[in-house]
Symmetry: C2
Subunit: 227 residues, 2 copies
C-alpha cells in the first residue's frame, strides 16, 4: 500500500524520473539522434538494461515528455482564455499558447513528431495509447466553443471541437516543418487562419452554405467511425 514512507516504491519512481530527466536534458542539448541510450544511462548513473527496464524503447522515453507539454498547455490555455468570450480570440489564444510552450523543444520535437507519424507507433496522436491525451485536447476545444458567444449551426457545434483538434494537428504538422525564427510562420498561420475559420463557421448558418456544411460534418463523422 503506497504511503508517506514506503522507501522502495519511492526509490523506483526516483530512478525512473532520473532517467527521463537525464534523457530530456541530453535530447535538448544534443538532439534526439545524437543522444545514445548508453549516454543517457551513464548520465543517470545506471546501466543500459536498467533504462530498458523502465522504458521499453528510446521512443517511449519521449512519451512522458509529450504528456508534460500537453499538461502544461491545458493549464496555461485554460488560464489565458478565462473571461474572453469571442470565439476567434479564444481559439487563437489556445493555439498560440501551444506554440509558446512547445518552442523550446522544436529542435528535438521534430524527431518526436516523426516517430508519431508512424501509424503503428503508440506515439501516434490517433493511437489507443494516446486516447487520454487526445480526449483532453478535444475537451479543451469544447471549452473554447462552449465558453464563447459564437452562433453556429447546431449540427456543426457538436462536431466542431473534434474538427478544431484536427486543425490543431495540422498546425503542429506545419510547425514541425517551420524553420523560421521563433516559428513566426506558424504564428502567422494561426493569426490569419483563425479569423477565417471563425468566419467560415459563422457562414455555416447561411442557407447556401448549409448543405455543404452538413455534408462535411457527416463525412467526418463517417470517417471517424471504427477508427
Amino acid at each position: 500500500m503506497p504511503g508517506a514512507n514506503v522507501p522502495h516504491v519511492a526509490k523506483s519512481e526516483e530512478t525512473r524520473s532520473l532517467i527521463v530527466t537525464t534523457a530530456m536534458r541530453l535530447f535538448t542539448e544534443n538532439g534526439y539522434d545524437r543522444t545514445t541510450m548508453r549516454a543517457i544511462a551513464a548520465g543517470a548513473g545506471v546501466s543500459v538494461g536498467n533504462a530498458y527496464y523502465y522504458f521499453s524503447s528510446k521512443e517511449q522515453l519521449i512519451q512522458g515528455f509529450y504528456d508534460e507539454i500537453a499538461r502544461q498547455h491545458l493549464d496555461a490555455a485554460r488560464d489565458r482564455i478565462d473571461g474572453e468570450t469571442a470565439f476567434a480570440a479564444r481559439l487563437k489564444t489556445v493555439l498560440l499558447c501551444w506554440l509558446d510552450i512547445a518552442e523550446p523543444y522544436q529542435r528535438f520535437g521534430t524527431q518526436f513528431f516523426v516517430n508519431a507519424a508512424d501509424p503503428e507507433s503508440p506515439l501516434s496522436p490517433f493511437s489507443d495509447d494516446s486516447s487520454a491525451a487526445r480526449e483532453a485536447s478535444i475537451g479543451l476545444m469544447r471549452e473554447v466553443v462552449d465558453g464563447s458567444d459564437v452562433k453556429l449551426d447546431p449540427e456543426l457545434r457538436g462536431q466542431l471541437p473534434e474538427l478544431l483538434w484536427l486543425f490543431q494537428m495540422g498546425v503542429v504538422l506545419f510547425w514541425v516543418h517551420d524553420r523560421s525564427a521563433g516559428q513566426k510562420r506558424s504564428r502567422m498561420l494561426v493569426e490569419r487562419s483563425v479569423p477565417l475559420l471563425a468566419r467560415l463557421a459563422a457562414l455555416s448558418r447561411l442557407r447556401v452554405f448549409r448543405p455543404v456544411s452538413r455534408e462535411i460534418v457527416d463525412l467526418i463523422q463517417d470517417l471517424a467511425k471504427k477508427d
Copy 2:
C-alpha cells in the same frame, strides 16, 4: 561516351538496377524494417559495401521507387481524365488513380511516408530534392483544373493546383493511417470530399464568400513564400 557497346558502363547500371530491384522485392515481401541491407546485398549477389557504393543509405533505396509510383500515376491519371470535362470527376479520378497504383505498396509505403515526414529528409515532399516530383504533381493538378469547364474566381484559379496538391498530401496522410480492406476508407474520403470541394470552389464566386476566399488564397501565398 555512352554507346550501344560500352560494356563497363552498362555493367555498372546493371548492378545498380539489380540492387534496387532486389530491395523492392524484399521490401514488399517482408516489409521495410524486416529487410536488412545484408539480405538485400546477398539477394543481389553483391557485398553490403557495394550496395552503399550505389545508394548512400537504406532510405535512399526507396527514393527511386517513389519516383516510379509518381511516374506511373502521372501516366495513368492523364490517360483516365482524357475527354472528361467535369472538374469534380477529373479530380476524383486522379486521386482514386493514385490509390489504385499505391495499393500494393501500402504495407511498406507506410514506412516510406514515415521517413518522408522528417522535414530534414530529402524524401520529404517539401524538400528541394523532391521539387521535381512535386512540380510534376502540381502540374497534373493544373491539367485537372484547366481541362475542366469549372467556373472559378480567377484569383483562386491560379492557386488552386497547389491547393489541390496539398489536399492530395492530406489524402496520402489519411491513407497511411488507413487499415481498412482495400483502403476503402480512403476511397470513401475521396468519393465524398471531392464533390464538396467542387461545390466550395463554385461557391467562391458568390459575393458573401469572396472575401473569405480571397483571404485564404492570400494566406496560402504568404505562407508559401521562402519555403
